[in-house]
């Protein structure tokens, strides 16, 4: 007997303060969320697996520059981007994860490659990138991942640190 499918996605903890959320921005976020939900929902609607659904949904979120992952990832204090991702299959607790990677268009695909192509769970840096290359994943240069908002958030943070006025604004910290 089949069961009704369900899927949920999140776009992070870095929600901007209400005072800065214009109706246009809010509409943009809602559209982006709806767009990102669709691939996962489509997989489940045709009887596909939860694993494929979460992979598709997260890849779609990574492609949205509004969210802090993939394209639109925040910057380190050195001005680089280091991305992390993980995936887990509830059927057998198989899992894969990558940390500290760059240039991989969809880090979630790299995490899945670790799960499916190696006997390991978590790989970092160059080793993780090598697995992604072996899996034939798509790579992008730094320009693809750059967003003006994230760059300005880094500059604001560094200025505030230098002047001793650093606050705890989650929208800047978490993107």
């Amino acid at each position: 007997m089949t069961k009704p499918f369900s899927i949920a996605i999140h776009g992070g903890a870095g929600v901007m303060p209400r005072r800065d959320m214009t109706p246009e921005r809010e509409a943009g976020y809602n559209v982006a969320l709806s767009r990102a939900l669709e691939p996962g929902k489509a997989v489940l609607s045709r009887g596909g697996s939860a694993l494929d659904a979460v992979t598709g949904a997260v890849a779609a979120l990574e492609d949205e520059p509004l969210f802090n992952a993939g394209r639109g990832a925040v910057f380190t204090r050195e001005g680089n981007q280091e991305m992390d991702a993980a995936i887990m299959d509830g059927r057998d607790r198989s899992a894969g994860a990558v940390a500290g990677v760059s240039t991989i268009r969809n880090p979630i695909h790299a995490a899945r490659a670790v799960m499916e192509r190696t006997e390991h769970v978590l790989m970092i840096g160059a080793g993780a990138v090598a697995i992604a290359r072996e899996a034939g994943l798509v790579f992008e240069d730094d320009r693809y991942f750059f967003t003006r908002d994230r760059w300005e958030a880094l500059q604001d943070t560094l200025r505030m640190e230098a002047s001793g006025t650093l606050d705890d604004d989650p929208s800047r910290r978490h993107g």
Binding site: K3, I9, A97
Partner: protein, 133 residues
Amino acid sequence: TVGAVARDRQGNLAAATSTGGMTAKRSGRVGDSPIIGAGTFADNATCAVSATGDGEAFMRLLVAHEIDARMRLAAATLVQAATAVVMSDLGVIGGSGGLIAVAGDGSMVLPFNSDGMYRAWCIEGRDPETAIY
């Protein structure tokens, strides 16, 4: 940070999380997202979880696995377990953030103790929904 959890028609669960981390983080700093049991977890017997927030706090609490453990060992429901961990335990150590989770019975919970979250969800037979704050 972004993430997804799902239950398919066969009742199988999965979770996925991806992040750029925190603005101006030190090179080499890794948060909870890729740590299985902290920011990401799935087991058909209990739940699938994807978290977002202060990564160090989520790692110290092993948030996702703590929810699994309460369901598995203390017979808590997903709502009970996730609500207790996010709305009580996380605050005790000064962590803010939240998570999305789905249980094997299809129940879903989206708790957070911070000002807001970006969320969207869909249950078969119902219209998809999105929410901010």
